[in-house]
Each structure stands twice: as structure tokens, then as C-alpha cells.
């Protein structure tokens, strides 16, 4: 089979020492920028493009692949240890991961993230190599009404999954939805809720909100608690690595996360965030000990981490097969391809097979290298938590501010960071969950745009939403997620075993 011949040829290219070096540099850079909140792989690749112009195409593409995967991975490290999601796709990881870290289980959390990322990245890269053309046909067939149905599914499953009470969760969600309205409306070009401040025209940046709510809010509540906070963070309790039970509880979420992440990542409007939300909600439903969710359940780290890495590989499907960049990083990688005179698109596999397979092979290498580099470092990373609290939180503040300002040097941005930080403190103080705020900001605008696109295309006929089989299926799943527990109660007279962890 020539796919395998081509792939092994690619592996040979990627395994040359100089290319291994590029992969190493890429992975290290990617991890570093992933850890820094605000600065993502897109920015890094963009800044490196003019320099790599002088390198050979294979080497620089391999480095980009390393940065891309490394960034996804680095984001999870910061989320787990510092509760500071560096990327919007690793917000969910912070929920359970940071709880684990505080309970001395940061080692297993980092390990399940690393191995899960590796497993998901590998499976998804195999998927990319073997079934990319098939997947992309399905992904392209998704219309705005189907995407809207997908958002509805995300809303219904996610709103129930976060926090201790549905009312509080929904309150937080609506705060996020309101924030999502700020800025220029894409369909009409008119500004909403910008109050004449030009910097608000582009809306609230997801990473700014996430960093503010998580990192700044957390810091403020630690400070406010002052001497009353007697919680002692133990860096390590038990094994620094995953034990038998951790493995048993992790492998299924890894696989489920992969199968959510890859296809959704391959969809032109899918992205890496939605699969992490869905994976978290799914694992919470399936978990045998739902009470552990919110207190550091390893499934809540394993699933979403696998999902975001699989989605990262999924994004490459439309990029390589159709030349469609569907994320900021992909758009810049496209610019990278064009720099070497190649045009990703339907003809790329035919015109530049060595480079495409070299890139796919280098994804495998980058993935493996991440695992090899990071697993031994887990022990070192968790020592971060042993830093005395004033120093640790001081450092978090510096990193959060630097990262946000690095991505967008503006006073208004800094102001937003502080105001949302205060909001995060208030929400914590009154026991409102903070994740739904970020979820609302991400999903709200997406759902709105897709709904309006669907209705505009149908010239205002709402029936269009229910005419596609994909949309109907997704709506049915949403209804099941929403009313399933209720029906269970009606028919059995017992409260459903899931979602029963009310205060």
C-alpha cells in the first residue's frame, strides 16, 4: 500500500538528525509559549516565519509541527499546576487538573495529560494520514444549521456539567453570553455594547477573560483569605507518576476524547474548545464516582486533554486536503507552506507528497518527543507548587499580565484583565462556577453567528434548522441530555444517578 510506503519515506526524512533538532527546538518553544498565557502557537509561528524563510522547507515545517503540538501540551501544564489556562482549549483541564494538583496529585494529572495527548495525537495523526479525504468530505457537508445544532448540544450538556447548582451555573453562563455580545457584529458590521471604546470593537479576548477569571481571581481570593487560609498545598502525595487505578480510569477517556476531538477539529467551524467541553461533560456523565468531579477527577483531565490534541491534528485535515485554514495557527502554517511555493489544497498530496508525508511523519516525531521530554520533567514541574505562596502568586500575576500584554499591548486590555479578575474574585466569593463564563463567551457568538447564517441562507425560514439529518440527530441528543434525567425520574421514581451532586 503506497500510503505506508510514502509515510515510511516521510519518517526517514523526519528522522534525519538535523530535522530531529528542528523538532526538538519546535517542541521546546511550543511548550514554553503554551505555558505563557496569551501567547499561543499562532503568534510564535508568525514571528518565526520570516526567519525560517532561509531554512529548508522540511526542517521549518517540522519545527512548526513541534510548536503546534508543544503549544497544546504546554497549555495544559500551566492549567494544571497554576490554574492559569494558557490556551482556550485547556480551560477545562484547569477544572479538575488544578484540584488534583492541590491534593498532591499534580504528577498523575500531568502524566495523564501527557500520555493522553500522545495517544490522541498519535491516533489522530494516523487518522490524518489514512482517512483525511473521507473525513473532510463529511466535515464540509456541515452547514450552518448543523453547527448551530452542535452548539446547542454543547450548551445543554455543558451547562449541567459545571458547578454545584444549575441556577448558579446558568447565571455564570449568561454573564459569559453577555460578554460575548460585545464588539462588532460579524453579520451586520455594527458595534454592540462597545460604549464608544474602540478597543472593545473586537470583543473580549477569550484568553484575557480566562486568565483574568482563573489566575487573577484566584490570586485575589488567596490574598483576601490572608492568614485565614490554612490550606497547605502538598506538591506530592503518593506516587509522582500514575498508579494502576489512574491508568484504569484514564485510558477510556483518552480514546473517547480522541474520537470527539478529531472529527470536530476537522470541521471548518469546529475548533478545539468545543470537543474539550463535550468530553468533560461526557466523562462526568460516565464517571462511576460523579462526586469526584469538581474535586479532582482524573477523567476530567484525561478526556479533554486527549480531545484538544486530537482536534489539533483534526485542524490539519482541511488544511492539507483543501487548503482551508480553520484556526489561527493553521492560517499561519498555510502562509508557511506558501512561502515554499506549495499551495495546500486538493492537489498538494499529488504535487508535494514528500513534504506532506514528511510533515505527517514529523507530527509523530513531535508527539513522541513531547512525551519523552515531558514525562521525566513531571517531577520537576510539580515542585513549582512547593514555592511559598506569596512568591507563587506573585509569579502568576506577572506571567498572566505579561502574557496578556504580550499578545495585545493595550491599556484597555490591561484594564479588562483587572476588572475580570475582580469579577472572578466575586464569583468565587459567592460560590458561582467560573468556567461557564468562559464557555458562554466562546459558544455564544459561535451559536449566534451560525443561527443567523442558517436563517439568512434560508431567507428567514426557521424550518431549515430541522431539515438536515445531522442537525436533527444533534437536537435529539440535546433533548436527551436535557430531559433524560427527568424521564429517568418519572419512570423509575428514583433520582438519576448522574448530576445528583447538588449542594
Amino acid at each position: 500500500m503506497d500510503t505506508f510506503a510514502a509515510l515510511s519515506q516521510g519518517v526517514m526524512v523526519a528522522l534525519q538528525p538535523i530535522n530531529l533538532l528542528f523538532a526538538f527546538v519546535g517542541v521546546m518553544l511550543g511548550t514554553a509559549v503554551g505555558v505563557l498565557p496569551g501567547i499561543g502557537p499562532a503568534l510564535t509561528v508568525a514571528l518565526l516565519l520570516p526567519i525560517t524563510f532561509k531554512l529548508d522547507p522540511a526542517g521549518s515545517l517540522i519545527m512548526f509541527a513541534g510548536i503546534y503540538y508543544g503549544g497544546m501540551y504546554g497549555g495544559s501544564t500551566a492549567s494544571i499546576l497554576l490554574n492559569t489556562p494558557g490556551e482556550s482549549a485547556s480551560i477545562v483541564t484547569a477544572l479538575e487538573g488544578n484540584k488534583m494538583a492541590r491534593a498532591g496529585r499534580g504528577g498523575p494529572a500531568l502524566a495523564t495529560a501527557a500520555i493522553g495527548s500522545f495517544v490522541a495525537g498519535t491516533i489522530a495523526t494516523i487518522g490524518l494520514a489514512l482517512i483525511a479525504p473521507t473525513i473532510v468530505d463529511i466535515a464540509i457537508s456541515f452547514g450552518p444549521e448543523d453547527y448551530f445544532a452542535l452548539m446547542v448540544l454543547a450548551f445543554t450538556t455543558v451547562s449541567a456539567a459545571f458547578g454545584s447548582s444549575v441556577t448558579r451555573g446558568l447565571t455564570s453562563l449568561f454573564v459569559g453570553l453577555s460578554l460575548g455580545l460585545i464588539g462588532i457584529d460579524l453579520q451586520s458590521g455594527q458595534a454592540r455594547l462597545s460604549f464608544g471604546v474602540p478597543d472593545l470593537l473586537d470583543g473580549v479576548e477569550v484568553t484575557t477573560l480566562a486568565v483574568a477569571l482563573f489566575a487573577i481571581g484566584e490570586t485575589l481570593s488567596v490574598v483576601a483569605a490572608g492568614a485565614r487560609a490554612d490550606e497547605i498545598i502538598e506538591p506530592v502525595k503518593g506516587s509522582v507518576f500514575m498508579n494502576r487505578e489512574d491508568w484504569k480510569r484514564s485510558w477510556k477517556p483518552w480514546l473517547r476524547g480522541t474520537f470527539l476531538g478529531f472529527p470536530i477539529g476537522a470541521m471548518p467551524a469546529g475548533g478545539a474548545e468545543i470537543p474539550t467541553f463535550l468530553s468533560y461533560a461526557l466523562e462526568k456523565r460516565l464517571c462511576r464516582k460523579p462526586g469526584e468531579f469538581g474535586n479532582g477527577a482524573i477523567e476530567g483531565v484525561a478526556g479533554p486533554e486527549a480531545a484538544n490534541n486530537a482536534a489539533a491534528a483534526g485542524v490539519l485535515v482541511p488544511l492539507l486536503t483543501l487548503g482551508l485554514p480553520t484556526s489561527a495557527t493553521a492560517a499561519i502554517m498555510l502562509a508557511g507552506f506558501q512561502q515554499y511555493g506549495m499551495n495546500p489544497g486538493p492537489l498538494l498530496f499529488a504535487t508535494n507528497p514528500d513534504l506532506v508525508w514528511g510533515l505527517i511523519a514529523s507530527l509523530f516525531i513531535a508527539n513522541g518527543m513531547l512525551l519523552v521530554l515531558n514525562l521525566p520533567l513531571v517531577g520537576l514541574w510539580v515542585r513549582l507548587l512547593a514555592i511559598p505562596r506569596p512568591w507563587l502568586y506573585g509569579g502568576i500575576l506577572v506571567f498572566a499580565t505579561l502574557g496578556t500584554l504580550g499578545a495585545n499591548p493595550s491599556l484597555v486590555e490591561l484594564g479588562m484583565l483587572l476588572i475580570f479578575g475582580l469579577l472572578g474574585y466575586v464569583l468565587r466569593r459567592y460560590d458561582y462556577p467560573i468556567a461557564p463564563v468562559v464557555v458562554g463567551l466562546i459558544l455564544g457568538p459561535l451559536a449566534e453567528q451560525q443561527l443567523r447564517r442558517a436563517l439568512a441562507i434560508s431567507v428567514g425560514d426557521p424550518l431549515v434548522l430541522f431539515q438536515s439529518p445531522v442537525a436533527l440527530t444533534l437536537f435529539a441528543l440535546s433533548a436527551l441530555a436535557l430531559f433524560g434525567p427527568l424521564l429517568f425520574y418519572v419512570f423509575t421514581g428514583r433520582k438519576a444517578p448522574v448530576g445528583a451532586d447538588e449542594d
Binding site: 462588532i184 482551508l324 492560517a331
Partner: protein, 321 residues
């Protein structure tokens, strides 16, 4: 802050990058790219940086990204903080013209010193290969029958794609307010909706559709250039089809407000030298950008014409008062 961070990122790169030359016309230049890294304006700014430095026209060139609101945030910062400073320039383009109007921006292009138009791309209208629309004439018939039934996929509302769709519709005598324009945030997403047959036509720069057309998945109906383009010799212009619309999505470079005529002269000469260099020609070829260099009074006149025409069409579409 920005320098700190990007400086750290690029620490490894310094060894590869050429160091500033000693005998340059201008010692130091900062170019503001009023967009996030990776986009068209950023790539333009970085290409200028590359050529100015490698041809030793300027000793040290820095690119500073100030993203936001169609470039108007960067423009506002430039106008407010660079007055009379001959060592700062800004990259911009046609999109800025529309964004200034729709965002009711407090600053506009009359507050900077335009130096030259550098590159440009033409707009193309495309349909999926299976579409019943075979030519621009078919599209005109469909639009005249019911403009609402023709959905257009393109970039954000009020951008070049939307403006072109409005001009096209108006030119054939249909109310441009009735254009059923579906805005997408990225080129990839709008192209996907077109390939998936979710919309009737797509409108974007020709380069976005070129590869798909060559693979037989899309059919390009027409382009907005004055004459046929070398990269798509079989595609007719809008004018050939009797639709009197010509539009170019250009990119330019401008200097700060309040600089002296001598300073303007020097910057113009440096940019002219750059445009005539082999390195610039190579860069344009590699990026697939057309050289549409225009400077001095000719550019000022063209700019004024574009601003007036854009104001009119945005009103006609209903996006501006």
C-alpha cells in the same frame, strides 16, 4: 512589554537574522502592522522589513503588531503618538477605508501621510462546480429574479468582499440593500461553505479560489480587475460581462502626520528603491501578490476616489449613514 516577550521568543533567531547594516539611508524604522501576526498586513509589514534590511536600505527595522477593529486601533495609536516622527510608518489597505467608515473611527487616512500603494489583489466570484450558474450572465439573471435567493459567502460585513457584492448588485440595477450577504470570520470557513454548496456564490480574493478552481471543485465566474489576469487567463472580468465594477484590495504604506516635505521625500525614495529591488520582486512572486505600486499625487488621487466610492456604497448597502 511586547519587545520583551517577542525578544525572548526570537532569541534563537538573532543568529540567523541579518544584522543592521552600517551604511543605510535611514538608521531605524518602526513599522506598525495594525493586525495580528499572520494576516495580510502583518505579512506585508514583515516583507517590507525583510527587503529593507537585506538590501541595506534601512539599518534596523522593527514590526509592531497593534491588532483590532479593521486596523483602526493601530491607525488611532499611530496618529496620536507618532506626530512628526519620520522613523515610524504604518501598513494599511483598502479594508481600513471601509472600517474607518463603519466603525465611525475618530481618526482617518487624511490624518496620515500616504507614501505608496504597494500590492493589490483582485476580487473573484466563484460557484461550486455543480452549480447551475455557468457565467456572470447567469448570476445577473438570478440576482434580477430575486436577489434574496442568491446568498453570498465572504469575509466580515462591510469588508472588501461585501463592498464588491454591493457594487456588483448595484451595477446591474438591483437594490444593494437586498444583497443576502453571509459573513464568515475566516477565509477557510467561507470557502468550506462554498465547497459544501451551502451558499450560492462566494466572493473573495482570487488567490483564495485559485487552487480549488484548478482542482475542478469551484468555477470562477469573474474577476474585478480592469483586464484579464495572467494567473487566470480564462476568467472574464466583470466589465467584459457588462458589469461596470472594478475594485482592488490594495495594501499601502503611510508615514506619520506632520512630517516635513523633506522627510516625506526621503521615505518615498526609500520605498521606491525597495519596490524596484530584486528582493521585493522575488518576495511578491513568492507570496503571489501583484505589484500595483503607485505613489505621489497619483496615489493621493486614487485614495480620495476610493474613499468617496466606499462611503457611497456603504450607505447604499445600509452599513453607514
Amino acid at each position: 512589554m511586547k519587545h520583551l516577550v517577542s525578544g525572548a521568543l526570537l532569541a534563537a533567531a538573532v543568529a540567523v537574522a541579518p544584522l543592521g547594516a552600517a551604511y543605510a539611508d535611514i538608521n531605524e524604522l518602526k513599522i506598525i502592522a495594525p493586525a495580528a501576526p499572520g494576516g495580510g498586513w502583518d505579512q506585508t509589514a514583515r516583507s517590507i522589513q525583510h527587503v529593507l534590511q537585506s538590501d541595506k536600505l534601512v539599518g534596523n527595522v522593527q514590526v509592531l503588531n497593534v491588532p483590532g477593529a479593521g486596523g483602526t486601533i493601530g491607525l488611532a495609536q499611530f496618529v496620536n503618538s507618532s506626530k512628526g516622527d519620520p522613523n515610524v510608518m504604518i501598513v494599511g489597505g483598502y479594508v481600513m477605508v471601509g472600517a474607518i467608515i463603519t466603525n465611525k473611527s475618530p481618526v482617518n487616512l487624511s490624518m496620515v501621510t500616504p507614501i505608496a500603494r504597494l500590492t493589490g489583489e483582485y476580487e473573484a466570484i466563484a460557484v461550486p462546480a455543480a452549480s447551475p450558474l455557468k457565467s456572470l450572465a447567469d448570476l445577473v439573471v438570478a440576482l434580477k429574479a430575486d436577489p434574496q435567493k442568491v446568498s453570498w459567502a465572504g469575509g466580515s460585513a462591510g469588508g472588501t468582499d461585501h463592498i464588491t457584492a454591493g457594487l456588483f448588485t448595484k451595477a446591474i440595477g438591483v437594490d444593494p440593500r437586498k444583497v443576502n450577504y453571509i459573513a464568515f470570520s475566516g477565509g477557510g470557513e467561507s470557502l468550506a461553505s462554498l465547497l459544501g454548496g451551502k451558499v450560492t456564490v462566494g466572493i473573495s480574493s482570487l488567490s483564495e479560489y485559485d487552487a480549488q478552481a484548478k482542482a475542478g471543485k469551484l468555477r470562477i465566474l469573474g474577476v474585478s480587475s480592469p483586464t484579464r489576469l495572467p494567473e487566470a487567463p480564462d476568467v472574464p472580468t466583470f466589465k467584459e460581462a457588462g458589469v461596470d465594477v472594478e475594485i482592488q484590495n490594495w495594501r499601502m504604506i503611510a508615514a506619520a502626520p506632520g512630517i516635513t516635505p523633506e522627510q516625506k521625500q526621503e521615505l518615498s525614495q526609500t520605498i521606491e528603491k525597495m519596490v524596484k529591488s530584486k528582493a521585493w520582486t522575488d518576495m511578491l512572486a513568492q507570496k503571489g501578490w501583484a505589484n500595483t505600486y503607485l505613489s505621489g499625487d497619483a496615489f493621493d488621487a486614487q485614495l480620495a476616489k476610493d474613499i468617496a466610492a466606499t462611503q457611497t456604497i456603504l450607505k447604499d448597502i445600509g452599513l453607514a449613514q
